[in-house]
Symmetry: C2
Subunit: 282 residues, 2 copies
């Protein structure tokens, strides 16, 4: 994809993300919003959304999908619960490294800390370190910080090179992920109509009547205009078992006439509709 | 829905499921396969699939979707990785109870154990038990067994009434789930062509060319025949970032002419196609 330069935002703009300094979300935040932002680490995705909704941070950057493990559903649900606007997307190549306080032999490592998804993405490597216990942690970079703060000598963490650098820890083994086709897609969010950017991608969420052909008719508004669908996600509607909210990503900006017409057409047949954002890829 | 009687399988048929005795999956296994089965508790979903694929159990029963938390993606991925056949589905109403060794006051409880999804589904109740730490466990029923085996006096677990009964523990608070519209859908699986049942529901998985309108055309084979789509799920294809496998549930049996025609029509446009099963709802 063509990567544009990052958005122009005031230096020191606060950006909330889940995890500690050095998390992959922070890397995504710099790709989208530049080097001069002020990172605001948060313990949970709920906290990230609340920080921006409540005006305590200007932006949020959240992972929405990984090319191996799939959608991060909690963030789809939070997009609907809050009324933030998607203002840009970016892709980060995920490279996992084994990180420790000082050079250590693999057979001397008794515990390996990381986020459960990172542990799952390094299965082949972990099978080689048979004696080590795997410990689930809430964040990859956070597990590096934990090992440093606790002074653990026989523990290692799986995280990014950024995390190793920030916490001044050693990379013991590089590129330990099972698959090199490991990318995460991130969205930057802001309060509505503050930082809207013209862009070529649009994310919407809608609910349909529960009747045969409903989804087919909804998709027709895009297919009949040759608008490419890049992603469909369905999430349960609470209180209505086996009915769904559909999230669609389309490769068209809301300012283009065919996109505007398609969305107008779609609204005629939805019970609920919201434009989450129309944004550039950075 | 009309609940039929359970399938006729030989008494003592082994049924693998994730979790300990008393798990919701065991309840689903009895609904589908009757009272006389031999339950085979497994530590992970991988183990459940391997037990049946390897001939060490006759059947598997797996949760596929919850009406509040959505799809259990690991099981969609395992359906594709293994070649088992879906032979029946059932729905279980999820009721969570707080369970302890002996009657205890809420303020005396310092730890509450359960599966993370069960903890998430009892948030309102848990906010009332402020001082208790929440401990994630791999299984609801397993957390009851753990508290019993460890003899923990100031701990409680969130699990089913079945689990309380099986481990002879006390229900301290009943029905503590946030939402009463809490159901889980389960599939029973067997090796292919062993226990196929005629049914009115069909699950398929397929991949499409990455081109505009591909999903719309795929759904047309059902919409043009008035076949109702009850569920669509997309999962990443490893090694092909941002391409997807689509899982569809349709309300039609593969023996009906319109379903057979629709599937034949669909195969003309898929890069990959597999019928996971056509089965009754029990």
């Amino acid at each position: 994809m063509n990567r544009l330069k990052s958005l122009s935002v005031p230096a020191g703009s606060t950006v909330a993300f889940q995890g500690e300094l050095g998390a992959f979300s922070q890397r995504a935040a710099h790709q989208i919003l530049g080097a001069a932002i002020q990172p605001v680490p948060c313990a949970s995705f709920d906290e990230v959304f609340e920080k921006v909704s409540g005006g305590k941070a200007c932006f949020a950057v959240i992972p929405i999908e990984n090319s191996l493990s799939g959608s991060i559903h909690q963030n789809f649900d939070l997009l609907t619960r809050h009324s933030l606007e998607a203002i840009a997307e970016t892709f980060v190549r995920i490279e996992h490294h084994l990180i420790a306080r000082a050079p250590v032999k693999l057979r001397e490592i008794s515990q390996i800390y990381s986020h459960p998804v990172a542990l799952a993405q390094c299965q082949k490597f972990l099978r080689r370190v048979k004696r080590a216990e795997h410990v689930s942690f809430y964040d990859t970079a956070g597990s590096v910080k934990f090992i440093r703060d606790q002074g653990l000598r026989h523990a290692a963490a799986i995280a990014s090179a950024d995390a190793a650098r920030i916490y001044r820890m050693k990379i013991i083994c590089r590129r330990i992920e099972d698959s090199s086709e490991n990318y995460t897609r991130f969205l930057a969010l802001a309060r509505r109509r503050r930082f809207s950017q013209p862009g070529s991608k649009t994310t919407i969420v809608f609910a349909l009547k529960n009747e045969p052909g409903a989804l087919f008719k909804a998709l027709s508004v895009f297919a009949l205009r040759n608008i490419d669908l890049t992603k469909i996600e369905s999430r349960p509607i609470h209180g209505k078992p086996w009915e769904y909210l559909f999230y669609l990503d389309i490769r068209s900006g809301q300012n283009s006439p065919e996109c505007a017409n398609a969305l107008r057409n779609l609204r005629e047949m939805t019970l609920y509709f919201r434009l989450i954002g129309s944004y550039p890829t950075l």
